[in-house]
């Protein structure tokens, strides 16, 4: 028995130190996601989004997006993209090590990832050290692009921009409908998500000239929101801007109804309000809330390409495309486009090409105005969120108005007589 164990342990050690390398034939791109651990299912969806984009680039598809037509990268003699996945398990030090491994052992020419802001933070430090381009698809912590890294690029809008969208929406709306939604109360849970949102909303309320009548924070996982909602009611705001996870989102809606609190608009910050459970458990009472979103299925009505890509995604994975996979998809297209324009796999040339990226709105599956990186921060300047409204139990896009599929219902109807 002892012998077997000794052999077993030794073989483990030997296995540990075996290093490995591949010959470079294709264009290798490292993709680092949480493929195991608590975020595994999200990681898989992200990876599928990236894989679908690579498939479209490598194959011949009649779509109006960069590199879809014709196989591979034309400026690199039709070279194909090969994705080398790496798993970071949601841990920053693992993400860093994976980036280093992919760069030095797999010889990837660029890295894409990492979903979790904390992992993107450390993995991008590694790419910065090695001078390898890093394209981030969905980490929204604003700090990431504030670092001024040379090799780091972000396609998704960050939390600050998403918060600003609320006020752009209200401004657009007041121009269009002449509604004076000028007093705002903030209502949020008190962990990172809520408190950060409040910070940005306060900042932009001032910038856009809205009057903030009060802020109510409550502990996440509260089982009672009666006194908080009474406080809100006392402030008598026209708009409640709310940040909540699923349980408190549902609880707050029930409390609003109970206390008969109906401001002109409930403008929610993604998360709990777009969780599938939200409409399911509230039924009719979920109607007419407004929420920020990054992507919606009904965008396809205005941009038919979205339906084609979303259907391809569904066929591949059996899952609906969503804001996560569509952003991963887009980042891969942006990166492939830059490598093609660079006409080289040299990191410095790819970095230069990324800086010159200019993809138009109609070439994207996102509701953005395009992709163009800020020369200093490397944040995509044309990214944008959308506002959806629950109408008859469905989320429909109501802003930006050019992408809207339904008219917005404003104000939020009173509870009685619904």
């Amino acid at each position: 028995m002892k012998k077997i164990f000794r052999m077993f342990c030794l073989s483990l050690l030997v296995l540990s130190f075996a290093s490995f390398a591949y010959a470079q034939e294709e264009i290798k791109i490292g993709v680092i996601y949480p493929l195991t651990g608590p975020l595994a299912s999200t990681g898989q969806v992200l990876l599928e989004g990236v894989k679908l984009a690579a498939e479209i680039v490598n194959g011949n598809y009649n779509l109006n997006m960069p590199l879809a037509k014709g196989e591979g990268l034309p400026k690199l003699k039709g070279a194909k993209i090969k994705i080398i996945p790496g798993d970071h398990q949601g841990k920053p030090e693992v993400g860093m090590a994976e980036a280093e491994r992919l760069i030095t052992q797999e010889k990837v020419v660029a890295i894409l990832g990492c979903y979790n802001s904390s992992v993107t933070a450390t993995a991008s430090q590694a790419t910065e050290r090695y001078g390898i381009p890093f394209v981030n698809e969905s980490s929204t912590s604003p700090t990431l692009t504030d670092r001024g890294f040379k090799w780091f690029f972000r396609t998704t809008p960050h939390d600050g921009l998403f918060s600003e969208n609320f006020f752009m929406f209200l401004r657009d709306l007041s121009k269009k409908k002449k509604v004076g939604a000028n007093t705002i109360a903030l209502f949020a849970e008190n962990t990172l998500f809520g408190s950060d949102s409040v910070k940005y909303q306060t900042k932009y309320a001032e910038k856009y000239g809205f009057k903030l009548v009060g802020t109510v924070l409550y502990p996440a996982k509260s089982t009672q929101l009666t006194s908080e909602v009474q406080k809100l009611k006392g402030m008598n705001p026209k708009v409640v801007m709310q940040t909540a996870y699923i349980a408190d989102a549902i609880l707050s809606m029930k409390t609003y109804r109970e206390l008969n609190f109906a401001p002109e608009a409930i403008l929610a910050n993604d998360a709990g309000f777009i969780d599938p459970e939200f409409v399911k458990s509230l039924g009719k009472d979920a109607n007419y809330i407004l929420s920020r979103e990054v992507w919606a299925k009904d965008l396809a009505k205005k941009k038919p390409m979205i339906k084609i890509v979303a259907d391809m995604f569904e066929k591949r994975t059996g899952k609906h495309m969503d804001g996560t996979s569509s952003r991963a998809f887009t980042a891969m297209i942006v990166l492939a486009d830059a490598i093609n324009r660079a006409g080289s796999t040299e990191p410095a040339k790819i970095q230069e090409a990324l800086l010159k990226t200019n993809i138009k709105a109609d070439q994207l599956v996102m509701p953005w105005d395009g992709v163009k990186f800020d020369p200093k921060t490397h944040q995509n300047m044309l990214g944008k969120g959308i506002i959806v409204q629950v109408q008859n139990g469905e989320y429909v896009t109501v802003w930006p108005f050019n992408l809207a599929t339904k008219q917005i219902v404003w104000p939020f109807p009173k509870w009685e007589g619904r």
Binding site: C9, S118, T122
Partner: protein, 314 residues
């Protein structure tokens, strides 16, 4: 014993030479992680293995070490080596504050209390605006030097620093085992009433073990902060870290000097390689295999692997 010493010297010589054979960052990173976890495992072993007080709160010390260094450096520009020492001080303080009331609890209840302590520390840091709250702290990038504890172009200095930490931890553990402390600790573990009847102040000696454990873990926290250059509460003060330390000590052999080192040498490569080779296609196969091996080890060799490697030297 002489033979044991020879093996030890060969082992350390191999560790010193290793980075000259493996020049890629990944194998070096692997060894750095092994030695880091080995050091923390030794720290855990002092309280959990020798004194028999199972702690699931050691991640708190890791976090305090990491945060002390990171806060002092990013807010006041204080050298990380001083941060390391102050981190040890604050961790010891936490050990005393936590240990004093908790050591009145016995067996499982102490373990449960330490879970709570770890979680409380995590929640505190998640909500503490000054310490970066849930976003965490980006450690300012300084010029590469030993003085600054930062190296950007090579992992070699990190490697030797953590090797020195491991050697230091082994020395501390050796000193404990050979001194009166070691006997007290084991007496407390085996029969607290008996130990008390012989005049050992159980409370105080448990505290001493906890402080030693805290210091060794805190030093690792500082190292981690300076190695990764970014810390945040969800990862630096994580219950899983405490559990991993416990597993490492268990696999290697509880209450044996070298136990946690062997544990780390098995455990870390196992997690890293199952992840690298099997993890990237997802579906969690790597975790299944990993769990299987842990179960096998636990059932076939509950006393740990120590005996297999060292049957002749003890």
């Amino acid at each position: 014993m002489k033979k044991g010493l020879v093996i030890l010297l060969v082992f350390f010589a191999a560790l010193v030479i290793y980075p000259f054979i493996f020049k890629n960052p990944f194998p070096r990173h692997l060894l750095i992680m092994i030695m880091l976890y080995g050091t923390m495992g030794i720290g855990w072993n002092i309280i959990g293995g020798y004194a028999g007080q199972v702690s699931f709160g050691n991640a708190a010390f890791f976090g305090v070490g990491a945060y002390t260094t990171a806060i002092l450096l990013s807010k006041y520009g204080i050298n990380p080596w001083i941060g390391m020492l102050l981190g040890c001080f604050f961790s010891s303080l936490v050990a005393v504050i936590v240990g004093y009331p908790c050591f009145r609890l016995r067996g499982h209840y102490f373990a449960i209390a330490t879970i709570a302590v770890g979680e409380i520390v995590q929640i505190l840091f998640t909500n503490w605006e000054y310490a970066g709250a849930a976003v965490g702290i980006y450690i300012p990038i300084l010029e590469e030097s030993f003085f600054n504890f930062q190296f950007h172009t090579t992992k070699l200095p990190y490697y030797y620093i953590v090797l020195a930490m491991l050697a230091f931890a082994l020395l501390v553990c050796y000193a404990v085992e050979k001194s009166r402390l070691g006997y007290y600790f084991r007496a407390i573990k085996d029969d607290p009433e008996g130990a008390r009847s012989l005049g050992i102040n159980i409370q105080n000696y448990k505290l001493v073990a906890f402080i030693l454990s805290a210091i060794l873990t805190s030093v690792c926290g500082t190292f981690y902060a300076m190695y990764v250059l970014y810390i945040h509460p969800a990862n630096t003060i994580d219950l899983w870290l405490s559990i991993h330390l416990c597993i490492i000590a268990l696999i290697g052999g509880l209450g044996k000097i070298f136990g946690p080192v062997i544990g780390a040498f098995i455990f870390i490569p196992l997690t890293e390689f199952t992840r690298v080779y099997l993890g990237s296609e997802g579906q969690g196969i790597d975790l299944i295999i990993y769990a299987l091996i842990i179960i096998l080890l636990a059932t076939l060799r509950p006393q740990g692997l120590w005996g297999i490697f060292a049957k002749s030297s003890s």
